[in-house]
Each structure stands twice: as structure tokens, then as C-alpha cells.
């Protein structure tokens, strides 16, 4: 049984995803319990996988018994196990939020589980074309989830997401095609062995790298191919925003790291320094541009979306530097950011239901109107800025240390400055929530926004929703001091990845 855990991780959500639609024949409210059961099972399986990887090392699984490199191989090492666990836990947590807040149609839960299947598939696959398949599954589920809010603006945003996302996935597919043409194989481990024979600096390989990185950059939403993200996050239902902001870009960044280290390997980065420099520059620009754009926003959810652009710049910079400390830091920040950003979006949902506020000005005096949500928002915001000992700081420490050890001094300056840049747009939120008088109730601005964008079936705020927000804030702080344990656990994986 334990041998089949990797494939069960994907099969469970797919099969469970069909159940709400079937159950819909009988009952309208069967979706949520099915999803919860499936996610509990998923968490258990992910935990089991993590334990197996910790005790036995990297696990491979051949789907259908077809031997690699012709069959599809699933590979789980420390990195994949961590991300798979993150997906399961976050998906389960957001379900606690969805119960009262979210769309409650059975089709929604089917899409939810399909998204989890796609994400987990991306995480455990060891085949680049298989990665594309799961990338598209994830994308399709995400496009539909964004549109599930039934607002006109959500439909437009979903369409934009679909078009831009498909372009990105197509670029990735082109890159995969070039890799196939160059080496004749699609299996990651096999590619890693065959690419040096083709030559790391051959045009074919370089083009493949550029296309793959470009395609994944669209999915990660780095600057300047991030344009789908603010609209999608701001117009989707709040639970969907929380889910996809926490997971979709995260897993895409993981995929980028996987391709970088397991297919092209560190040798490629050493052989073609231009590639490493280019990736570093793109990441650094994303860090700065994302923050600058975030500062200029008036809508809170759009601001958080641009904040993601900046934070993923940090993560990709960590992967691009490719020293052990930087990669650990990037992984820590990946996980930590998922928790923090998901929590922030969940908090904005609670605030919107309690007070109708969606703009930054609407958050004035929130500490009096929604104290728990405001407090959690403040804690999560400070964690993002990098106040120790929360996880945002620890991830940044590792990345910057790795960059210093790698000699990337320009990047070091940008990474250190990112604290101040993040502070620029988060500090004013804290200031407005706690030290500004609430807006005049007669002010039409926010009620007008609600009339345009509010979901007419908005339910009131349940303790479960608030609990999810508070839990995210607590985990963000508690995760920081546990990083050394995580570092010890994935040390073997990092060594293998970076050879």
C-alpha cells in the first residue's frame, strides 16, 4: 500500500471530485462533507508520504507498471513531500472557511477537488509532459473557480486568466517539445542525464530553458507577465482567492525549481551563467515592481495580489542563486507565504462581510469594527514584512545568506530593501486599522462597491471563518522557529538537488 502512496495522492482527489456531482442527484448539500473527507484523507496520505521520504529517501513510482523512461514516473523527495503536505493542509483549512463563506454548489466542490488533484500531480510527477498535463488541469480548475463568483467582473477576470494562462502553458509545452527533440525523452531524471550530452549551451537547450521558464513565470505571476493575477484575485469569491493565492502560484514556483534543479541542474547554471543572471534579474525586478505597484493600489485585494508578485520574486531569486541556504530559504518562504497570503485573503473576506470594506480607506478604524480580523491581518502583515521570529523573516534570512555565499551582491541589496518596500504598503494598513477614525457611515464609496461587487448570497461571518484567519496568523508566527527542524529534514534532498 505504501508503495502506491504517490499515485493515491492524485487518484483520491480525482475520484472524490466526481462524487459531489453524483451526490448532487440526491442532495444539494453533499459537496462540503465529501470535500472535507477527501482532504482529510489527502492530508493523511501526504503525511505518510513525508514520513516515507524521511525514512527511505526519494521514492519513485511507475504509473501503470510501465517502466521509465517510457512510462510516467512519479518521484517524491523532501521538496515534493513538503509541498504536497502544504497543498493538503491549506485545502483542508480553506474548507473550514468555505462552509459559511464560499459558493456552496456541488460543482464548486468538484472543481475544488480537481484543483487539488492538479496541484498534487504537478508536485509528485517526474515527467515533464505529465507536468504540463497537470499544469493545464490546475489551470482549467482555477479559471472555473475564479468565474464561480458569478459576477461580471469575475467572468472577465477569468477569461483574462484563461488566455494569459494558456499562453504560458503553451510556452511551457513548446519548451518541453524542444527538450524532447533534443534528447528523445520526457522523464526528468533521464533528461538530466542526457542534456549534458546535447550540450548545455546548444541553442536547442537554451531555447527550451527560456520557453519553460517563461511559461512557468506566467503561472507564478512574475513581473511583467503577472497581469492576470490582480483581477483574478480581486474578483473571485473570497475563499477562492484564499485558495489560489496560497497554492497555485506556489506550486508553479515549485515546478520552476524542480525543472531548474532536477532537469537542467546546477551544472547548467554554471555552464551558462547568463541564464542564472537573467533569472536573478527577473526575480529582482519582480520584487521591486510588485511592491511599487502594490503601494499605488486602492483596493485591498489587488494590493495583496501585487504583493504576491513581489514575494514570488523573492522565492525565485532564492532558487536562482542555487546555494543550499538560498534554496532552503526559498522553500521556507514558499510555504510561509502560502500560509500568510491565504490568511490575508481570508481576513479580507471576513472584513468584507462584517463591514463591507474593500478599499484601503474602508479599513479605517477596523480595530474597533472587526477586532479579531484586524488583529490577525496586522500579525500576518508584519510577518510578511519580515518581523522576526515569524516565518517571513526566517525565509528571508536564509535567502539573503545564500545570496551572500553565492556572491550575488546586487541581489543582496534588493532582498534587504524588500523589507522596506513591503513595509511601505503594509504599514499604512496597520496604521489605518488602528490609528485612524472609522469612515463616516454616510460615505457612499464602499457601499457602492458592495452593490457592484458583493455576492447577493453573502452569509454572515461564522466562527469557523474567523478561526481559519486566526489559525493562519498563529501558524505564520509559529512556523518561524520550526524552520531549523525543516531544514534538517530536507537537508539530504537539498544536497542531492544541488549535487
Amino acid at each position: 500500500m505504501i508503495d502506491h502512496v504517490p499515485v493515491l495522492l492524485i487518484v483520491l482527489p480525482i475520484v472524490a471530485g466526481a462524487l459531489p456531482l453524483l451526490a448532487g442527484l440526491v442532495s444539494d448539500r453533499a459537496g462540503w462533507p465529501i470535500a472535507v473527507l477527501a482532504m482529510v484523507g489527502q492530508t493523511g496520505l501526504a503525511g505518510w508520504l513525508g514520513y516515507a521520504v524521511a525514512t527511505e529517501g526519494t521514492i519513485s513510482y511507475e504509473v501503470g507498471g510501465f517502466a521509465a523512461p517510457f512510462g510516467i514516473e512519479l518521484v517524491a523527495d523532501g521538496l515534493s513531500a513538503a509541498v504536497a503536505a502544504l497543498i493538503a493542509v491549506v485545502a483542508l483549512g480553506v474548507l473550514g472557511y468555505v462552509r459559511t463563506a464560499g459558493p456552496r454548489e456541488d460543482s464548486f466542490f468538484s472543481l475544488y477537488l480537481l484543483l487539488v488533484a492538479g496541484l498534487t500531480g504537478m508536485t509528485v510527477t517526474g515527467d515533464v509532459f505529465n507536468l504540463y498535463v497537470f499544469l493545464e488541469i490546475t489551470g482549467l480548475a482555477a479559471y472555473a473557480l475564479v468565474a464561480s463568483g458569478r459576477r461580471a467582473s469575475a467572468a472577465v477576470a477569468a477569461l483574462k486568466y484563461l488566455i494569459v494562462g494558456t499562453v504560458g502553458a503553451s510556452l511551457y509545452l513548446l519548451g518541453v517539445g524542444y527538450l524532447l527533440a533534443a534528447t528523445g525523452t520526457l522523464n526528468m531524471a533521464d533528461l538530466a542525464a542526457k542534456l549534458p550530452e546535447v550540450g548545455y549551451d546548444s541553442t536547442l537547450v537554451l531555447t527550451a530553458f527560456a520557453l519553460i521558464v517563461g511559461g512557468l513565470a506566467v503561472k507564478v505571476a512574475l513581473f511583467p507577465v503577472h497581469t492576470w493575477q490582480p483581477g483574478a484575485y480581486a474578483t473571485a469569491p473570497d475563499s477562492v482567492s484564499a485558495l489560489i493565492s496560497a497554492l497555485v502560484s506556489t506550486v508553479a514556483a515549485y515546478a520552476l525549481a524542480r525543472i531548474l534543479f532536477s532537469v537542467f541542474t546546477v551544472e547548467f547554471l554554471r555552464a551558462v551563467p547568463v541564464a542564472q543572471t537573467a533569472l536573478t534579474v527577473v526575480a529582482a525586478v519582480s520584487v521591486v515592481a510588485g511592491s511599487v505597484l502594490a503601494v499605488s493600489q486602492t483596493d485591498v485585494q489587488r494590493m495583496l495580489a501585487y504583493s504576491s508578485v513581489s514575494q514570488f520574486g523573492l522565492v525565485v531569486a532564492g532558487f536562482a542563486v542555487a546555494t543550499p541556504a538560498a534554496v532552503v530559504g526559498a522553500l521556507v518562504h514558499l510555504v510561509g507565504h502560502a500560509v500568510m497570503k491565504g490568511g490575508l485573503f481570508a481576513a479580507t473576506g471576513v472584513v468584507r462581510r462584517r463591514t463591507g470594506a474593500t478599499t484601503i480607506r474602508g479599513y479605517d478604524g477596523l480595530s474597533a469594527r472587526a477586532p479579531v480580523a484586524a488583529g490577525s491581518f496586522a500579525v500576518l502583515a508584519l510577518a510578511m514584512v519580515g518581523v522576526p521570529p515569524a516565518v517571513g523573516f526566517v525565509g528571508k534570512w536564509y535567502i539573503v545568506l545564500g545570496a551572500i555565499r553565492g556572491g550575488a551582491w546586487g541581489l543582496v541589496v534588493v532582498l534587504l530593501a524588500s523589507t522596506l518596500l513591503t513595509l511601505a504598503y503594509f504599514a499604512r494598513m496597520v496604521e489605518r486599522m488602528y490609528f485612524t477614525a472609522p469612515p463616516d457611515p454616510a460615505d457612499e464609496e464602499d457601499t457602492a462597491a458592495l452593490a457592484d461587487g458583493g455576492d447577493p448570497t453573502d452569509a454572515p461571518v461564522s466562527p469557523g471563518m474567523v478561526a481559519v484567519v486566526v489559525a493562519a496568523a498563529l501558524v505564520a508566527v509559529a512556523l518561524g522557529p520550526t524552520v531549523p527542524i525543516i531544514e534538517g529534514a530536507i537537508d539530504a534532498t537539498i544536497q542531492t538537488l544541488l549535487q
Partner: protein, 585 residues
């Protein structure tokens, strides 16, 4: 020198950390809430004081929490230097807690629960900074100190308070980023960040460029909180906070944490020998000297009493930094002793300013002529403390300054000694008029103040009768109500008196409190119609919640000056300096 593992340093931090939820829970019962604060302060002081005998005997108390990142532990290690700062902060918090009660209730302030909770958090973070065993731990608590003190700076919730809060966050987080950069460089160069007497960076073994860069980053980062120029300007703006905040935090806890960081940098990260070999001590000393002179000169020009005290703080902190930068044994002794000396004196001064504000709503020195009649005990304490600031013997400031001057002369830096003596004169210049006019003048008959009122560039009698450009818009941000006269008075030779532009009855924008919102439309400070009411010397001028702490702090300043050895601070300072290798007793 034995390391004793003890829970007491942790408990000292937690004493006020755990008080925070209790204070929040007691929000509806003010007396209970204030009782929690006082109890937390007493507990904290008791725990810290219990460490004193052991540390003086040569032990250090340690506690390790576990690895935080890349093999560096989050750990506490209480040595003499850490105990100096910890003891000072916890002792003065007791005094400040009582003062806060009197101040906040006297002004009927809003959001008192948030205030007391933030204060408890700030002190927890300050003690954490004091007891940190390595650069990473000190960075953690340094940032938490910023977060905890921000609600106190923005307490008023006016536009001005929010702007001051934003500036405060920008400067202190910027400083934090510099400290982080420096810490990472030190860790990369040496593989450790733990504090050790004599330092962990060896000049011979490291690339001098990198070592100097690390020193510069750490010095700048800590220097922001230590209000070195040019990164000092957050401090005068932060005076918009309630006076107990200005007193304890921005004269004792926060700014002294910056100075303390610099002390750790010079003594325990680089070590005096390495600093000398790298040649980075001299630039630091120059920056400190420039700061202490410039800030004193700026202070001469400030009419708002708290602003004047703020610039005085900037100046006096640089005494400490100068002592540290001079690297000799006497200079270090003097610099470190000035930490408690200045704290007691400056706290007294701020408390006096706050008491004056509460009792008479007067914030400007020009309104305070004759106020000694109304507040005799307060002004007496003010007189004692300001004499100490100038370095008058038998008061705290004299002993520390003596050592720094001796240290400067021993090291061959006559310029530095001269600067200190000039600064002493400047101190008298900006404190003496306040004291003199309080007792020996009255609202009707007081001398003019050319330093305050005189326009930049000098007065000149012009045909249009108006003042020159500099006048009327001083740094206090006020523009004289008669500015229009500069153009309109062309035909009126009698309008040449510049004093018309200067109106003591104009409303003062600082620290809006809420007492008189109903009563007056334009409330302004200053003496009432018939001059100041005479109050005896038996404490009728204000509540004992405020007078007690004022007199206690003033007494502390006198004690340190009269018997520095008996007042335990000097012994701790000596222990801290003597444990450095190469320093002979």
C-alpha cells in the same frame, strides 16, 4: 567566569509579556489594569536585580531557546553590559508606570488599555535586547521593540501623530535592515554571531573591506535608534507621543537600545582592538562629535520644551557613542556610565515637562516665565537634572563626562575633549534660561529671548519694517500671524519690532489631549490672567503620582553623582569594561 543556566532572564522578559493579555482583559477596570502594570514592573525589576550579585561576582546567566536559523541559537546571556541596560530599563519602568497613571488620568486620555499594553510589550522587548546573547537574538528583539513602540508614538491618532509614526517606522525598520545586513556579513565572515568580550571579528583574518562594511552597516543600523546624525530626525517628531512615552522610551529604552547595540558592536562583536586596527573608530567618533555639537545648537532654537529636550537627548546620546568610539578604558567607562546617568536626568526632565503640560497646558518655554511659583517642586527637580546635564559636579552627568574627557585626552583626541566642554556650555545655555525664568521672572516682566526670536541672518531695520526671511517660520512649523505685515508695512515705520511676529498666545499643536474640548474653542497654554497662582512647596502643585516619580528620578540622578560606586551602576559598568581582554584595572 562561569555560565549559569537560569530561567530568570526569560522570566524577566515574560513578566511584562504575560502581563499584556492581563492588561487587555482588565480593560474595563482601570485600577486593576494599572495594578497589573505596576505588579509586572516590580516583578521584572526584582528578577533583574536578583541577577546583579552573581554578575558582579563574575558569573553570566544563560538560557538557550533553540536554533532559530542556520545554526544560530536564539539565546540569552546576561553579562555585565546586558545587566546594565536591563537593570536601568526595569527600574525606570516602575517609576514611569506610576507617572503614566498620573499623566493619563490627568489628561483623561483615550485608549489607555492599548497604551499600557504597548508599554508592557516595549519593556519586554527592551529586556530581550539587553539580555541577547548574539546578533540574531538582538535583531529579533530590536524589531519587536519597534513594533511594540509604534502604537505609543501614534497614540494621539491625529494626522501629526500618524505622520510621526510613519517616519518612526521608516527610520527604525531601515535601521533594522542595516543591522540585518551587518549581522549576515559578520556571520558569513566568522561563522558565528555570539557576543564575546573582545569581539569575534579578527582584523587580521578578514578582508578589511568586508569587515569595515559590516561595521558600517551595524553602526548605521544601531545608530538610527541611537539618534546619530543624519538619521536622528525621527526623534524630535516622535515627541508627539504622550510624555511618559517620550521619557521612558525615547530617552531611555528605545534610544538606549540603539546605544547598547553600538556598545555590543564595539566591545563584543568587533572588540576595541579590532575597531582600532580597522580604523573605523575615528569616523564614528567624528559622527558622534558632530551630532553632539549640532544638536546642542539646534536645541537652543527650540521653544517647545519637549522638542528642546529631544535635541538635548540626541546630543547626550552622542556623548555615549563618543565614549565608545574612543576605545580607551576611561572613555569606555565614561560612555557606559553615561547610559544610566543620562537616563535618570533626562527622565526627570521629561517628567517635569509632562507635569507642566498636565497641570497648566503649557508647552512652550516662552510661556513658562514665573512658572516656579505654580510648580516649585517640579522646577526644582528640573533645575537639578539640567545641572547634571551640563556636567556640574555632585550630579550624575559629571562623573561620566569626566571619564570621557580624560579618555579623550589620553587617546590624544584634544578636539573631542574640547567639543565635550563646549557642549557643556551649550547645555547651560539652553537649560539655564528655563530655570532662571521659572523662579526669578514673571509673565509680565521677563527678558526677551534673542536665541528663540531672532531671525536667521540677523535682524536688520528695513524701511518696510518687516523681519527678514528667516523669521516667523522656524523649524517648529509655525508661521507668525503677522507674516502679512512684511509686505504691507512698507509705509509704517513703527511696525519694525520683530517681536510682534511672536505670539505666546497662539495655540500649540503638539499633543492634543481631550480635556478642554468642551470648554474652550481656542485653548492656549501660558499663564492665566492674573499670573501664575502661588502654590507651596508641599506638593499641592500636582498629583503625587507624577511628583513622586519626578522626585525619585531626580534623587537617582543625585545619588549616581554623589556616590557612583554605591549606586550599583558604576560597579556594573566597571565589570563590563574590565572583562574586555587587554584592559588593565
Amino acid at each position: 567566569m562561569t555560565d549559569v543556566t537560569s530561567l530568570r532572564p526569560v522570566l524577566a522578559v515574560l513578566a511584562s509579556g504575560l502581563a499584556i493579555p492581563l492588561i487587555l482583559a482588565a480593560r474595563d477596570r482601570p485600577n486593576l489594569r494599572e495594578g497589573v502594570t505596576v505588579a509586572a514592573a516590580l516583578t521584572k525589576f526584582g528578577l533583574v536585580a536578583s541577577l546583579v550579585p552573581g554578575v558582579l561576582a563574575g558569573d553570566t546567566y544563560t538560557f538557550e531557546f533553540g536554533t532559530l536559523a542556520t545554526g544560530i541559537e536564539l539565546a540569552f546571556r546576561v553579562d555585565a553590559l546586558g545587566l546594565l541596560f536591563g537593570l536601568l530599563a526595569s527600574l525606570l519602568w516602575i517609576v514611569t508606570s506610576f507617572y503614566s497613571i498620573g499623566y493619563m488620568r490627568g489628561l483623561d486620555e483615550h485608549a489607555q488599555t492599548r497604551y499600557f499594553a504597548s508599554f508592557a510589550a516595549s519593556l519586554a522587548a527592551a529586556i530581550g535586547v539587553a539580555f541577547a546573547a548574539n546578533l540574531l537574538t538582538i535583531f529579533v528583539f530590536y524589531e519587536l521593540l519597534t513594533v511594540a513602540t509604534y502604537p505609543l508614538v501614534t497614540h494621539d491618532e491625529t494626522d501629526e501623530a500618524r505622520a510621526a509614526g510613519r517616519k518612526y517606522l521608516t527610520y527604525t525598520f531601515g535601521g533594522g535592515v542595516a543591522v540585518l545586513g551587518g549581522t549576515l556579513l559578520v556571520f558569513w565572515m566568522t561563522g558565528t554571531t555570539a557576543f564575546q568580550p573582545g569581539g569575534i571579528v579578527d582584523a587580521a583574518a578578514q578582508d578589511p573591506v568586508l569587515a569595515r562594511a559590516a561595521f558600517a552597516l551595524l553602526a548605521t543600523g544601531f545608530g538610527v535608534k541611537a539618534a546619530l546624525m543624519p538619521v536622528h530626525s525621527w526623534l524630535p517628531d516622535a515627541m508627539v507621543a504622550p510624555t511618559p512615552v517620550s521619557g521612558l522610551l525615547h530617552a531611555v529604552a528605545v534610544v538606549k537600545s540603539g546605544v547598547f547595540g553600538l556598545a555590543r558592536l564595539v566591545m563584543h562583536v568587533f572588540g576595541p582592538e579590532t575597531v582600532g586596527e580597522l580604523g573605523v573608530g575615528l569616523p564614528l567618533a567624528v559622527v558622534a562629535t558632530v551630532t553632539l555639537l549640532t544638536a546642542s545648537v539646534i536645541a537652543l532654537r527650540k521653544d517647545n520644551l519637549k522638542r528642546r529636550l529631544a535635541y538635548s537627548t540626541v546630543s547626550q546620546l552622542s556623548y555615549i557613542v563618543l565614549g565608545l568610539a574612543l576605545l580607551g578604558k576611561d572613555a569606555l567607562l565614561g560612555g557606559l556610565l553615561h547610559i544610566p546617568a543620562h537616563a535618570f536626568m533626562k527622565l526627570t526632565l521629561f517628567f517635569c515637562a509632562g507635569a507642566i503640560h498636565v497641570e497648566t497646558h503649557t508647552d512652550d518655554i516662552s510661556d513658562m516665565a514665573g512658572i516656579g511659583r505654580r510648580m516649585p517642586l517640579t522646577m526644582a527637580a528640573f533645575a537639578v537634572a539640567s545641572a547634571g546635564m551640563a556636567g556640574i559636579p555632585l550630579l550624575a552627568g559629571f562623573v561620566s563626562k569626566w571619564y570621557i574627557v580624560i579618555g579623550a585626552l589620553e587617546g590624544g583626541g584634544v578636539v573631542f575633549a574640547a567639543a565635550l566642554l563646549v557642549s557643556g556650555v551649550l547645555n547651560i545655555a539652553y537649560f539655564w534660561p528655563v530655570v532662571y525664568q521659572a523662579y526669578f521672572e514673571s509673565p509680565d516682566g521677563h527678558d526677551e529671548k534673542p536665541l528663540l526670536e531672532g531671525p536667521f541672518g540677523g535682524r536688520s531695520l528695513r524701511a518696510d519694517g518687516g523681519g527678514t526671511d528667516g523669521h516667523g517660520s522656524t523649524e517648529d512649523g509655525r508661521s507668525g500671524p503677522d507674516d502679512g505685515d512684511e509686505d504691507g508695512g512698507i509705509l509704517d515705520p513703527g511696525a519694525g519690532d520683530d517681536r510682534d511676529d511672536y505670539d505666546p498666545d497662539r495655540p500649540e499643536p503638539y499633543h492634543e489631549d481631550h480635556v478642554d474640548d468642551d470648554d474652550h474653542e481656542h485653548f492656549h497654554g501660558g499663564p492665566p490672567e492674573g499670573g501664575w497662582a502661588a502654590v507651596g512647596w508641599r506638593g499641592g502643585e500636582s498629583t503625587w503620582f507624577m511628583l513622586g516619580p519626578i522626585l525619585a528620578a531626580a534623587t537617582g540622578a543625585v545619588l549616581i553623582g554623589v556616590a557612583p560606586y554605591a549606586a550599583v551602576f558604576f560597579r556594573i559598568v566597571e565589570a563590563a569594561v574590565l572583562e574586555l581582554p587587554g584592559v588593565v584595572a
